[in-house]
C-alpha cells in the first residue's frame, strides 16, 4: 500500500509521488518526464491513470537523470539509454553484493 511522502521518508516503492512532485524534487521539467515515460525509461504505477503517480524510488533515478542531462547536455532519448544502462549496472551490483555476502570469509 502506498502512502504520501512524509517529512522523513525512504525513497522506495512503499511511497508515491505525483508527476508535479517528481518534477520539483528531481529538477526535470514535466515534458522531459513525459518523454521518459514515452521511452519506457520511467514508469508510472499505472499508465492508464488520469493523474500519473510514481514510486518514490523514481525520485532517486530522476535526480540522477537530471544530473546527467545537465552535466552532459543529454536529450530525452540519450537519457533513456543512459538510465537503462545504469539500472542494469545497479542490478548487477546488487547481485554481486548478494553473491559476495554468501562467500565464506576464509575463502576470500
Amino acid at each position: 500500500m502506498q502512502s504520501e511522502l512524509e517529512e522523513s521518508a525512504w525513497l522506495n516503492e512503499h511511497y508515491s509521488v505525483t508527476l508535479g512532485e517528481l518534477a520539483m524534487l528531481s529538477g526535470l521539467p514535466d515534458d522531459i518526464l513525459r518523454e521518459l515515460v514515452d521511452c519506457g525509461a520511467l514508469a508510472p504505477v499505472s499508465i492508464e491513470a488520469e493523474h500519473w503517480v510514481f514510486s518514490a524510488h523514481c525520485v532517486v533515478t530522476m535526480r540522477r537523470a537530471e544530473r546527467l542531462r545537465s552535466d552532459f547536455e543529454l536529450d530525452a532519448n540519450a537519457l533513456a539509454v543512459a538510465l537503462s544502462f545504469l539500472e542494469r549496472i545497479h542490478e548487477l551490483e546488487e547481485q554481486l553484493r548478494a553473491a559476495r555476502a554468501q562467500i565464506p570469509r576464509r575463502a576470500r
Partner: protein, 321 residues
Amino acid sequence: MKYKDYYQALGLARDASAADIKKAYRKLAQKHHPDVSKEAGAEDKFKEIAEAYATLKDTDKRAAYDRLGSHAPGQDFHPPPDWGGPSGDHGFRFEDIDLSDLFAGLGGRAGGPRGGGAGGGANMSLPGEDFEVNARISLEDAANGTLVELNLSVPEYDANGRLARKPRVFKARIPKGATNGQRLRLRGKGGKGFNGGREGDLYLNIELAPHPYFRPAGHDLYIDLPLAPWEAALGATVPVPTLSGSVHLKVPAGTLAGQKLRLSKRGLPRPEGEPGDLFAIAQVVVPQDLTERERELFSELAAGSKFDPRSHFKVETANAE
C-alpha cells in the same frame, strides 16, 4: 578567498578556445562523473571540473575570472578594486566565500552543469539547495534506527541574496529498516531558501559499515558458522549470534560445508513488512593442533570408516595413468 585555477582543472592553457573548453570538460566529465565513475574521490574531482566549466563556458564569467589575474592554486587573494564584482556592496566579505559562490552570484543560471548557481536578485525567491550525503552506519544502528550528525560546509543565501559558505551541522534521524544503497529524504533539512523560497531537502545515501560477523545482502544477513566435523556429521545445537542476541540453532546431522541454514526473520528489519532472514553458512573446520587422544580417535575413524568423499572421481581416476 582561496584562488582556484580553473584552466588547470580542465588541463587547458589560458588562451583555450570555447570549443577546447567544452571538449576538455566532456572528456573529464565522462571519466569522473559520480553517477558514472566508481573511482574513489570521483565526486570531488567532478565538482572541481564542473565548477571550472560553469565559469569558463560563460563568456562574461570567464572574462571576470581572467580579470582576477593568475595566482597559485590555494593562495589567498582579493579581487582587484576595479574588478567589477560584488565587492562594492556593503557588508560583503570575500573571506567568507568560496570562489565558486562568487561566480554563481554573477549573471543568471544558464542551465547545467551544476555549480552554475542562481542569480541573486534581491526580490527573487530562491529555493534552498538540496544536499546528498553518504551516511555510514553500523548494522546495529540500521536495525534499531539512529540519529546521525553530519558536518557540512554549505553555500547559503545572505540577506542580499548572495551565496556564502557556512559550516552547518545536520542532525538526521534514520528510522529502522535501512540497508545498503537506500535513500532517505529529509524534507526541508537542506539549504535554507531565500526570500520565501522553499527549504532544500537532505538526501541520505545509506552505507552499512562492515561487521565482524554479518554480511548484508538487501535485508538478509549472512554469517559463517564454523562446525567441528562431528557436529556436522552427528548434528548439534550451537549458539549463533544475531543482531538481537545469541540464539540456539539446530544443525541437522549430515550438514555439508557451504550449506545455508536459515534463521527466519533474524535479518535486518524492513521499513515495511517482514524482516529479512539470517543465513548461517556451514563451514566444517578441523583442529589445527591435534592432541594425542584426538589423533587416536581420528585414526580410528579413518581405519573403520567406509566413507569415500571422492567416490564421484572414480571414473576419472580409474582411467588416470
